[in-house]
């Protein structure tokens, strides 16, 4: 009895081990698939940054149009003395915000920056942008699948796109 149960037991152990590995392999598969998806979601929106006009950039980035909303508060200076560094920030009281983007209408490419706001992050961003000349700055907030915007004109005395 003892002579046969020894190797049998090890055999069983090996089989169990193999099954475990097989299960692990299977378990890894869907996990790998989801992380690949998440990576795709993280992709840099290169096409949108290439678009010249604001309308094209919004279309390339979101595929829809925005409506103006007083729930989006865009804070930008009236006059920027140096177009190379224009402090611009946006806050919103909207719920379920998933992204915030900044557009400068008459820059060589309109889309300046796009921020993804995951769950738990406050929908407010402050940053500094370059502006070629006096033009409109637009902030777009994506909330619950819809786009809301706020626009403000900033006067630029010295452009930020070159010497």
């Amino acid at each position: 009895m003892t002579t046969t149960s020894g190797p049998l037991a090890t055999r069983r152990l090996i089989l169990q081990g193999a099954a475990g590995v097989a299960l692990l392999g299977l378990g890894n598969l869907p996990f790998g698939a989801t992380s690949a998806l998440a990576a795709a979601n993280d992709k840099y929106p290169e096409e949108a940054f290439k678009q010249k006009s604001e309308a094209d950039a919004i279309k390339a980035l979101y595929g829809k149009t925005a409506e103006p909303s007083d729930k989006v508060k865009l804070d930008a200076p009236e006059i920027a003395e140096n177009g190379g560094v224009v402090p611009i920030s946006v806050t919103t009281t909207l719920d379920k915000v998933t992204s915030i983007s900044f557009f400068v209408a008459e820059n060589p490419s309109a889309l300046a920056a796009s921020y993804r706001i995951p769950d738990g992050t406050i929908p407010a961003v402050a940053n500094r942008l370059k502006m070629a000349k006096t033009t409109n700055v637009t902030a777009i907030v994506e909330a619950d699948g819809k786009l809301y915007s706020a626009t403000k004109e900033v006067k630029v005395t010295v452009g930020g796109c070159g010497g």
Partner: protein, 103 residues
Amino acid sequence: MASSIRVRATANGDITEVQTLIQHPMDTGLVKDSKGEVIPAHFIQQLKFECNGKNVFVADWGTAVSKDPYVKFSFKGAKKGDDLKVTWTDNKGGSDTTTAKIS
């Protein structure tokens, strides 16, 4: 070499405020140098903030972001002592990463 990223993360109750300043030329590719040669585009494309294994903020940038970029945002769910990992990658394949303790 010192990190190109300076980050300050301060927890105030449930909300953590993050301020970041990065040293980067952010060249647009439209500017000429003193010899009249175009300075090629060199700019940060993506900046990520990770806390407790989760992305808390992802920035996609174009060339219109100012030189030595600054960004400020806040998020919930972290506490003092947690690690905040900051990573950027630029259009030339360059990158840098740093980890800051939330204070």
